[in-house]
Amino acid sequence: MDYACHTPDHTSRRTLLKAVGLSGISWLTPLAQLLARESEAQGRADPAKSVILLWLDGGPSQLDTFDPHPGTKIGGETRAIDTARKGVQLAEGLEKTAELMQDISLIRSVTSKEGDHERAAYNMKTGYRPNPSVVHPSMGAILCHQLTDSAVEVPRHVSILANNRAGRGGALGTRYDAFRIGDPASRIPDVTPQVNDARMQQRLEDLSVIDRQFARGRRPDLEQNRTLHQATIQRAIQMMHSDQLKAFDVNDAPASERKAYGNTAFGRGCLAALRLIETGVRCVEVTLGGFDTHVNNHEVHMEKKKILDSAFSALIKDLKARDILRSTIVLCGGEFGRTPKMNPAEGRDHWPHGFSVAIAGGTFVGGQVIGATDPEGVKKEPRDKVRVQDIHATVLNALGIDPETEYMTSAGRPILLSDGRLIKGLMPI
């Protein structure tokens, strides 16, 4: 049976279970039996295992980040800078990232049909356009659903600083929803018991009396096949007492490390992402908002790039230094790009017809540039167009998951994990 975005059988020494003996909560169904899961996904030799999504909320301007066209009618004030990869330029303000361009590839021709924030964000995070009959799972949810883990006690799908668009389990189930936290410098919500262990034990005993009464006359498989109530409580307790929670606490990290990421919530989010991935978390999404620059596009982007540049580059460096960039895919982008044409308020409006996504890690080749937008902003269609779903298919494939795997919606309709095509230019030769 498929259960939660968690480990099935690992029990920490510090769990309440041991602390209080098995007496009080022996009514809880044995975990192993509940959570037995069979197969690791069949994949190639050593596919990547996890994903970090740096979500630039609001729709960053491709012209002011990964696809500058300086000196043209559409380029605006933004200058371009050279990078470690000859011939590839980035917008000014991304100097630290530029030094790492051997490891990072750019897709400059992403297109979609969604120009509204909510719909476009859904599209980017799930690889499907919104559809009233099904909520598609986000990439992180698919990853947790497809790949099991044996030793992770914290949620495997985490969203840091998310607004209400955090990755969702959708048709795969709410148990694959991202666990949402704010600035990692502050307390993680809901994991600290409000009472001491002894009193928590009392409360669980009280609860068992009430739940036992409720189970009378009900289906014997109620817990296993419907509510998962007791198993969920047990997992929650395990998490509350897990040493792995420390991964969230970036205050633990050496000062020099923290400094590299920048003294910002997003920077701390990226550092937490690194620590969580090391712990075995499958997908971490870190949000940097404020890219919806209908007004003062240039200034706002310069501000935002300061935050992004430090955090993004420090993350790639550290992943590489710890030898986990090979097993971690990093994506950086937002729901759409911004218009080539500047509006009267010195802003740029929504533009889903050719925008950029940066991609690094896993088995992907670094330093590549896929597609190109028209420097004059005349042609709407970019060269070598990449659709949003193609990114999904490519990433899933790199994770050893066949994008054409089907799952069933509640209405019994089969849906492919992704209906995109692989992006050849990113594949190892």
């Binding site: 975005c5 909510e118 909520v135 009280d206 969920t232």
Partner: protein, 538 residues
């Protein structure tokens, strides 16, 4: 001398207020009598539905479970119609009714309550305009929901309401119903209201037909419909446009390229079934509204019946809620309820009363008589009330209500109402909204459970707080342990404890006092709020 007087006066005042407070909590109180219901023939309609279900159960060889306790039926109705559980105050008032009249009285009580129209409006809005914030400036969801709530509270006939939506004109602020049209605007494309989005909504929400599956191409899975059907229906929305003066009709035909890569062609307006019901006079949208709501178009009535049923049971009579076959066989009761709905002027309040009075709705979720346990077959055939997971806003609403002994509603104290709105929103945001995908049952997630076990809302609602929290108030106001336990159960689970539960908690409370006693009662509230029974409709 003067000091003496003041002291006596103070003690007397405190004693009196405490006594009054205690009395109000523990004795049935006069509750505003709801207006009597004047509809005729409800009993006959209920009997027909019951007969249909009796035959259905016999045919499928399932035994119906016993009638659920009155409090439990009332709880189901409160959750389905107001999104929260009955208060202790309401339960006491319900207790004063006779067994036969209790549920009817409860329906009258709820249907007169603004909580009901507010909640139903929000649930309906999900099908009508979705949950997205929608286009900037030209779409005001809050206004739309408020308008809908007013209409539902006034019990506007459903066909009238739907005609208002389809033919809406004017601005999103002065004509809130126009938001039904403006929500479909794609501001990026600058093409005005989207005919295809509107057609998708219209067919799903009002006809229980998923015509949008064939929007882009003919689909071998849905060979009943052709792509042309969809676009001919969409053509009715062709003239709808949006400008500074809001939504209005303009002389513009609907165009679409039916052939892949082909040229745009003008598509004539036509309906996919029952063409004889399409009125000849009026604007395109008026004619469409007339066709949708024609008494001969039974798909319209069925879809309303199915949706109300789903709200009350947590599961649609025909699933999914927006896909009902156009031809028999239908689930038991559906045609009878649709007939009754049409014959009585599309009266939603009546429909709710009829469903609430049926045997199917009033079945227990356990066998209820003797040994054994309920079977999946019984649940599947409505012979036992099916368990379903409560929605996030129902959980939030119930936690807040359970923390209070009085009813939290529009007449409640302003501080409570503000607190409730804020806390409820925070909770739902974190607990996760299920979006439009309604009536989809899933086990809870660990983050959700963590919120229930350690979250701020639960902590705030169970900790020591004499003003805001039921646990503290019961501890202070009820000296008798059995009464305190019973009141806690009634407040959170709408039932009394069984002897075993009562004995367990009485033993815990024995000889405790002050802080220790308070803590035990707080733990009891925590456990009740974290129980399966609290999190699931049953």
């Amino acid at each position: 001398m003067a000091t003496w007087y003041r002291n006596i006066l103070f003690v007397a005042t405190v004693t009196c207020s405490l006594a009054l407070l205690t009395a109000s909590l523990l004795k049935p109180e006069a509750f505003p009598e709801p207006p009597p219901y004047l509809g005729k023939g409800v009993a006959e309609a209920v009997e027909k539905v019951d007969t249909a279900f009796a035959a259905y159960w016999a045919r499928n060889q399932v035994e119906a479970s016993a009638r659920a306790p009155v409090f439990l039926i009332a709880r189901r109705l409160s959750l389905g119609l107001t999104g929260t559980i009955p208060s202790l105050e309401e339960i006491r008032a319900l207790e004063a009714q006779t067994e036969e009249e209790a549920i009817d009285w409860w329906c009258s009580h709820l249907l007169a309550d603004p909580r009901t129209s507010d909640y139903l409006a929000e649930r309906f809005a999900r099908a009508l305009v979705g949950v997205e914030n929608g286009p900037f400036l030209v779409y005001r969801r809050r206004r739309f929901v408020n308008w809908l709530s007013e209409r539902l509270r006034a019990n506007t006939p459903y066909d009238v309401l739907v005609r208002e939506l389809i033919t809406a004109e004017g601005t999103w602020t002065s004509s809130p119903e126009a938001n039904f049209i403006t929500v479909s605007i794609d501001q990026n494309a600058k093409t005005g209201p989207s005919e295809s989005k509107l057609t998708g909504r219209l067919t799903r929400a009002f006809l229980g037909v998923r015509l949008d599956c064939v929007e882009c191409h003919n689909d071998f899975l849905h060979d009943q419909w052709k792509q042309k059907d969809f676009h001919q229906l969409a053509a009715f929305f062709g003239p709808a446009s949006s400008g500074m003066s809001g939504v209005r009709d303009e002389d513009q035909p609907y165009q679409y390229a039916l052939k892949r890569g082909g040229d745009l062609e003008e598509i004539p307006a036509a309906v996919p079934f029952h063409p004889e019901l399409l009125p000849e006079a009026g604007s395109l949208r008026e004619r469409l509204a007339g066709w949708v709501t024609d008494p001969g178009n039974r798909a319209f009535a069925r879809s309303a019946v199915n949706r109300i049923w789903a709200l009350m049971f947590g599961r649609a009579l025909a699933s999914p809620v927006d896909e009902i076959p156009l031809e028999a066989p239908y689930p038991p009761g559906m045609e009878i309820l649709a007939d009754d709905f049409i014959q009585h002027g599309y009266d939603l309040h009546r429909l709710i009363r009829v469903i609430a009075a049926t045997r199917a709705f009033q079945r227990d979720s356990i066998p209820g008589h003797g040994e054994g346990h309920v079977t999946p077959e019984q649940e599947q055939h409505w012979a036992a009330f099916g368990m379903h997971r409560l929605r996030p806003e129902q959980v939030a609403g119930s936690i807040l209500q359970a923390a209070s002994l009085e009813t939290i509603d529009a007449s409640a104290h302003i501080i409570r109402r503000i607190a409730r709105a804020g806390e409820q929103n925070d909770f739902i945001k974190r607990f996760g909204d299920m979006g439009e995908d309604e009536f989809h049952d899933q086990g809870g997630s660990i983050p959700q459970r963590l919120m229930m076990m350690n979250g701020d809302l639960i902590e705030k609602r169970t900790r020591d707080d004499l003003v805001m929290n039921a646990a503290t108030r019961l501890a202070v106001l009820t000296k008798n342990n059995e009464t305190a336990i019973e009141s806690a159960y009634l407040t959170v689970l709408s039932r009394r404890p069984v002897p075993e539960e009562s004995a367990y908690f009485t033993a815990k409370l024995k000889d405790t006092r002050d802080k220790e006693r308070k803590n035990i009662l707080q733990d009891l509230f925590w456990a009740l709020l974290n129980s399966t029974e609290f999190a699931w409709g049953h």
